[in-house]
Amino acid sequence: MRVLQRLLGVPRIGWAFVAPNLAVLGLFTFLPIAINFHYALTGGAQLYPTERPFVGGENFAILFECTNHFDPSTCRKDLFWRAVYNTGSFAMLQVALMVLFSLITALVLNRKILGRGFFRGVFFYPVLLSPVVVALIWKWILQREGVLNALVQSAGGTGIEWLNVSGWAFSWTVFVSIWAHMGFYTLILLAGLQAIPADLYEAAQMDHASPWRRFSRITLPLLMPSLLVVIVLALIRAVQVFDEVFVLTGGGPGSATLFVVQFIYQTAFAESIRLYGIAAAASLVLAFTLLVLTLVQLRVTRRSVDGGRDA
């Protein structure tokens, strides 16, 4: 230590301590980001960065080339835009339903019901499963000769191609995603509910406040910081959706469940002629979206902390 101090001097000794972390961060975070930028600004199908010709913003221009951005079929990279719209629809629907169901579940589990510990475990259990396992379980349930169709047929109904009809396939990806992740958000909301002082409810009860009034005037406002964190976290996760859906539907039927991350994966790794530049450009667009969402999350979190302090 003394040798180091003598070598670097006291003001710079801090750098010696953070150097290992900086090296790891640089190697595994900043270098890949720099390489990603390099790929996004170069063309061709070559993997080695030095063999790729510089094309400037051409990959971004290709991605954004559309006659009408609201109609993917008019875009040069129609699949990218289909993926963007699918991801947008998925995120909005999944986050709204996820928050709703998580809130209801948390409210129920916060009450003194029989087997509360067991039910908390049941709702949290899917979170522990690997996304691939989740997708395979649901694939067995939803495939043409799956469990669900067997039940439908035994009840006298006709089997439905759950994963081969666009609307159904999309709906099931939303449902499966909610099923898999709801436990995590329920836990956050449960912690938020338990932090609400019980005497507020007692006072409201003494004033004969109705259950709805207690919920809307006490629970909801005091749960809002947790709720906002849940919304932003769920939104970020929804935009990144890939593994469960890739195994469950493979992006089909057609491109009904193709999301942005799968588009990137397919373009870079699943095609025989790999358009790394387009994939890297798309991943930067996604990264920018996630950056915005993360900034929103930070702002929301900070505001909720400050709000808590003010209170």
């Binding site: 960065p49 030095t50 039927p253 009904a256 699943a270």
Partner: protein, 423 residues
């Protein structure tokens, strides 16, 4: 600055790769995927090779087909990977192949035996190198549920029947036997192209570039209509996304479809899974304006440039390509030989009569394959046509876009991919 970082990263990657991935001196690693038992038989023959060459150890790494298609190209581009691999993207990976001509005993014998398929592994017509050997020659063609035809009392169309005649006949059979679908194709551009060439697709224009011509469009129209009118199950092509491969084997094996277009590599699986459930036969490829052809193809063991033991790699492939060993390999794996000498002598397959007849039917079709189909199979960027075919026709079948839009997209995708590959 960034460039210097990249160089450092590249140098680091090369060092790490050489430490982590390299075979030991005298050891060769073979990345092998199986259609049936190819890797097990290779292992058995490798033991015999090791007994004759005590200084070489052959390690067979059995990998899924997806790893060969998706992981191997990235490994090779990064300078990593095995010494030998069993691949199906024959021309697409040619820049990574090692020329083993200096290491084989008799290059002329290789040329004489494998001349027709050696060119599939070469990067250009001027290239005369030897890069590997086909472990199987495949031909696409239709499997037909004969029992259903008999039950329906519908005569099976003859050897020169057209796709339309087969569609009519199989629909009659499906209706009479209450089978849900008349026909199914594997979800693969390769499978589709056999039928398209039969409809008159020329595939290449005067400059040698890929083209979506009237023959291709005619087959696409038929295929689209068959999927829309229920002749074919929509879920095979429309049920998944991207250019994902999906076979229709289960549909056929469960007697849910009368005719199934796949290829010779399915024979062993047919024998194993269908057994005596029903009688099945392989029929000649249906005809059209361009002939009655399937697509040739197959898998090859290729030597890879990154090997540290090129001599041992050459010796092992030379051993595998020897007439006796190759004939044994074909007999045990139930594959069609690519070696002219072995094909001429004939292979004694030890399989049930139905499988034997099927293999015979496929062998007979090798000679009728269109030159256009051979040219397409040997074309370095053939997947630039195969993949968009599966993806865009799949989208059209799923009802996401019209057939006309799908055809336009196929043409632009092909153009974009070939341009990127040649940039």
């Amino acid at each position: 600055m960034q460039f210097r970082h990249l160089l450092v990263a590249r140098a680091t990657a090369v060092v790490v790769a050489s430490i982590a991935g390299a075979a030991l001196a005298g050891e060769i690693r073979v990345a092998c995927y199986s259609d049936g038992n190819e890797c097990e038989v290779t292992q058995e023959l490798a033991k015999r090779f090791e007994a004759q060459n005590s200084d070489v150890k052959v390690v067979i790494d059995k990998v899924p087909y997806k790893a060969i298609m998706e992981t191997l190209p990235v490994q090779l581009a990064a300078g990593e990977g095995p010494d030998i691999a069993r691949v199906t993207d024959l021309g697409g990976l040619s820049r990574y192949y090692l020329d083993i001509t200096p290491y084989v005993k008799d290059p002329k014998a290789w040329e004489a035996n494998f001349g027709q398929t050696l060119k599939w592994l070469r990067s250009s017509p001027n290239d005369k190198g030897i890069y590997g050997m086909m472990t199987q020659l495949t031909v696409t063609g239709p499997f037909v549920n004969k029992t259903l035809f008999e039950q329906a009392k519908v005569p099976m169309p003859g050897p020169k029947a057209t796709w339309d005649e087969w569609a009519v006949a199989t629909r009659q059979v499906a209706k009479a036997t209450q089978v849900p679908y008349a026909m199914a194709f594997d979800r693969s551009g390769h499978r589709f192209m056999g039928a398209a060439i039969s409809q008159g697709a020329k595939v290449f224009d005067a400059k040698g570039g890929l083209v979506i011509d009237d023959g291709y469009k005619a087959m696409a129209k038929k295929f689209y209509d068959w999927n829309r009118d229920g002749t074919m199950p929509k879920e095979v092509w429309g049920g998944v996304g991207g250019s994902t491969y999906r076979d229709a084997f289960e549909e056929f094996a469960n007697a849910r479809v009368v005719l199934y277009l796949s290829g010779s590599w399915q024979v062993a699986r047919m024998e194993k899974q269908i057994g005596k459930n029903f009688d099945w036969v392989v029929v000649p490829n249906p005809c059209g304006a361009g002939g009655c052809t399937g697509m040739p193809g197959g898998a090859a063991f290729v030597a890879l440039k990154r090997t540290k033991n090129p001599k041992d790699v050459g010796r092992f492939l030379d051993f595998m390509a020897g007439d006796a060993v190759y004939a044994e390999y074909m007999a045990k794996t139930n594959n069609i030989p690519a070696s002219a000498a072995v094909a001429k002598k004939g292979v004694e397959y030890n399989v049930a009569p139905a499988a034997k007849a099927a293999l015979g039917a496929f062998v007979a079709q090798v000679g009728t394959v269109s030159p256009v189909a051979y040219e397409l199979q040997g074309y370095q960027y053939n997947r630039a046509l195969f993949n968009p075919t599966a993806q865009r026709l799949g989208q059209a079948v799923a009802g996401e876009m019209s057939l006309d839009d799908a055809l336009k997209r196929i043409a632009s995708d092909v153009d974009e991919q070939v341009k990127a590959a040649t940039k």
